[in-house]
Symmetry: C2
Subunit: 140 residues, 2 copies
Amino acid sequence: MTRLEDVLDRIRERGGRVTVPRRVIIDAMLGAGEHVTADDLAARVQAEHPDIHLSTVYRCLDTLTELGVVTHVHLGHGPAVYHLADHPHMHVVCESCGEVVEVPDDLLDGVARRLASEVGFTLDPTHFALVGRCRRCAAP
Amino acid sequence: MTRLEDVLDRIRERGGRVTVPRRVIIDAMLGAGEHVTADDLAARVQAEHPDIHLSTVYRCLDTLTELGVVTHVHLGHGPAVYHLADHPHMHVVCESCGEVVEVPDDLLDGVARRLASEVGFTLDPTHFALVGRCRRCAAP
DNA sequence: TTAGCTGCAAAAGGTTTGCAAATTA
DNA sequence: TAATTTGCAAACCTTTTGCAGCTAA
């Protein structure tokens, strides 16, 4: 369970500045569930701080990603979703209803090994989502 | 190895019309390698038929997808890539240099089984790409 | 003080859409 | 002829960027 102060400390450690937008954005991520888009985040943040611009949200998310405290995932279509990098995991998204499910990050360990030895490819399994159909949306 | 006529027949069977843009686009896909973006395709097509518009390419690709003769894949960032649906396969893309590698479509069979039984999720493994780093781009 | 941020406005990249004219069956 | 499809222009959505002013250290 990540705390705001831990993240701020990390920013300072790495020579970054602790600014109002950064503090507020991280706070919003702590408050939000998983799978927040930049736009979601901007809306949450702007409820209290209307002048924090969407482009600032993107820039902060970038910085926080470089600092290793935030990650994003590309679902098939649609915008990327962001979350704190406190517990690595993969995402599975339903291509029909858009539901996103979290699954253990070691799900692809076997595949990663095969790819490494057969194709020389180092998998980055938390950076993309598996796509398919959830129980509700699958056939009959 | 798919032939132009097979695809055209399929369009007719399904009640679609065989138009110049559709014929030319399919032909371009047969000529192109794998991993063509809509934009690539428009450029190829426009070399001979300058008035086939990019939006027509998108619309034809949509139709052809519904007819089951074309598929597309979302690489992490960047545009989707299209190919004929003649031999199902997965894609692995390097997040650094963008290189795309084709891998067997049964690579995720084990994962698909686990997801089906544990989460009730039916994987659609050819609709997204695995992301990571190719040998050249992986560390030193 | 000054390097590093932010707000704003504008653009860029990929894709979709409305509509009238052209084309297929 | 009637229903689809196309060309074009314009919109859309997500993300990025240039720049002048602001702010944390």
